[in-house]
Symmetry: C2
Subunit: 144 residues, 2 copies
Amino acid sequence: MNSKRSETADYEVDRQIGFFIRQANQRHVAIFNGLIGDKLTTTQWAALSKLKQIGPTSQNHLGRETAMDVTTIKGVVDRMVKRGYINTAADPNDGRRLVLQLTDEGHAVIDNNLAAAIQATKDTLEPLTPGERMMFLELLHKIT
Amino acid sequence: MNSKRSETADYEVDRQIGFFIRQANQRHVAIFNGLIGDKLTTTQWAALSKLKQIGPTSQNHLGRETAMDVTTIKGVVDRMVKRGYINTAADPNDGRRLVLQLTDEGHAVIDNNLAAAIQATKDTLEPLTPGERMMFLELLHKIT
DNA sequence: TCATTTTCATTTGTATGCAAATGAGTATCG
DNA sequence: CGATACTCATTTGCATACAAATGAAAATGA
């Protein structure tokens, strides 16, 4: 008996946790995109709403707060700056830092899309009962 | 009272389901990358192991089986062909189809990395008790 | 103080991930 | 049979996502 072969036979990639997580993310993103109104992506929404929550901050710090790599947050911020939602300025106290701040337009786009974002969360969890939702959130948080 | 403002104040993007799913996926991918031995990504692994499971098939079909867009699966397959893990041939019965098949090297790379892939699943679920793992899988499957 | 380390932002390169459009081949059905 | 619809693979464009390297600025500690 070749144990390697028997393991291979048992293994099904589409029953692994990674596969499910990837699919769940795909579904959530699709729901979000279908509800959001200003062609905002989930990461752009995360960056904007987090920036609103914590106030003016540096680019890398905003990235850490939103679980984005320095390269990723830079791309997101660049696009939000280009669209006029975020303003950048040099930090007078630290020559390295780029201070990010929401523009009035940035605040407005958050207000305009908050309901859709909340609905996206609801719709994503719709297949679960209220009790299951609590449990799911808790378990998901544990493996993060 | 401005209800829009109060909603905004309550909303925290890093407590939303989408944020957790994205982070969970990041963590799993990092674990997988740390264990896998041949610079294979999670999607490349999914494509290879699924191709082994279902046998020779078309590119789009493999994409559907692995939850990948036609563009995404094309990129993955192209890279696996380039590395010699997948072989392509025209389907004599259907002029549109490209029949994909694992090469000997492709079979070998699966055998060499199966243990790592299994370990990646285990490590990802490590923070949960056995009971929680069952529950988590079930809930994750429901929202997929 | 001055060398070491750390942090910040940027750039390059590679790899998903999806929308939209295209062209070629196949299936369906009136 | 022939028009229509569908499927397959491809291409383009845009948006994450991360590794690795770089240069500038700040913090640290001997």
